[in-house]
Assembly symmetry: C2
Homo-oligomer: 204 residues x 2
Amino acid sequence: MQTTEPSHLTREKILDTAQSLFQSQGYSAVGINRLCLDAGVVKGSFYHFFPSKQALLSAVIERNRSQLMDELKSTSEPENDGRKRILAQLSAVLASAEEHKNASGCVLGCRLGSLASELAVSNETVRTASTHAFTEWQELLEADIEAGIGSGSITATVNPKATAVCLLAIIQGMSTLGRSFNDPVMLAQIARIAVKRLLPVPAH
Amino acid sequence: MQTTEPSHLTREKILDTAQSLFQSQGYSAVGINRLCLDAGVVKGSFYHFFPSKQALLSAVIERNRSQLMDELKSTSEPENDGRKRILAQLSAVLASAEEHKNASGCVLGCRLGSLASELAVSNETVRTASTHAFTEWQELLEADIEAGIGSGSITATVNPKATAVCLLAIIQGMSTLGRSFNDPVMLAQIARIAVKRLLPVPAH
DNA sequence: CACTAAATAGACAAACCGGTCTATTTGTTC
DNA sequence: GAACAAATAGACCGGTTTGTCTATTTAGTG
């Protein structure tokens, strides 16, 4: 009980590697052999921890979801206003894009969106998990919009739910365009317009 | 000269099938054998018309681009106002989502976006081609916004270029969320907010 | 130390991958 | 019909795919 089991370090390495490879190359393009090689793990170990590649995928998606929610909440938590919390979330998205660009030369886009776009149509399990994660995200945005309206930083004429969904769509669009154009500056431009138009400050 | 060469019908069948399979299952998940089987074509014929799977991919992307641009232009051409042209384009996007949902049970999303999201990071050829297509689309939107401003149907305070990119991001986000949520109604909601906020009518 | 379960190791298998190759059929032109 | 190119046909190839299997090592517990 006093230490984290060292055996599970292998499992974590597999998950880390899979998370990274799936996001940059996609699920179908990554083989188990390649994955094990990159993770420094042997095939016997992989199939000891995961019954199948599909099971690994589900674990990766759940990990993506929980990590992303933690990050979004932790970056927006310090802000006391709903509007500022959303700005902080968008800044985190942009910072992540720039970080990947600097580290690997490529904007990688959204962890959830990339896999969802590739697999949701042909894999109902992935589709359901992705939808669940997106819904959680949307509810976070919606709560922040409502709080922003309450505190007077967002015009009361905006519909919180519809606006949250629209914001989520913009973020996912930024992911797709980011992967293609590979240009963080373009993403910042999109985010700027989105905030300006979707979250107008009240006239006074 | 008097008839279209019947030989090229095979090539067209291959392209049609590939276009459909790539959009629903992704590029990596579709094998040549499966493709030939679905197209009713034998492997010798496939490699007679296409030197490789990658070459087929390039042809499919170019086809996606040109078909999409034709559709967007033809649906917006009858409208004489820039704002109405964009509304017509969004209606076409929504109609396409509903049509796929009714026909196959699945919202398939954007032809360009799905492949771009899957492959742009790991395939520079695809990335360049996708970027080219997206840029063309963005310029179309930008021209319509400028026309709308000129004719007074869109407030002059909007930045045509930035707004066009933002609109494109929303459409791509609709694609990703559409594939995941599989709900055309949600997409319509997003489009409604996007138009309302990004393309405001001038106060008078 | 003895016993047991977890983890590691990697050879192996059947199916499938993209792609090649040789034949044969089809269509066109003289 | 002869000659030639385009298209079709599918057997075949080496490599890779996901997943299995047995054996061995490691770690924990009495």
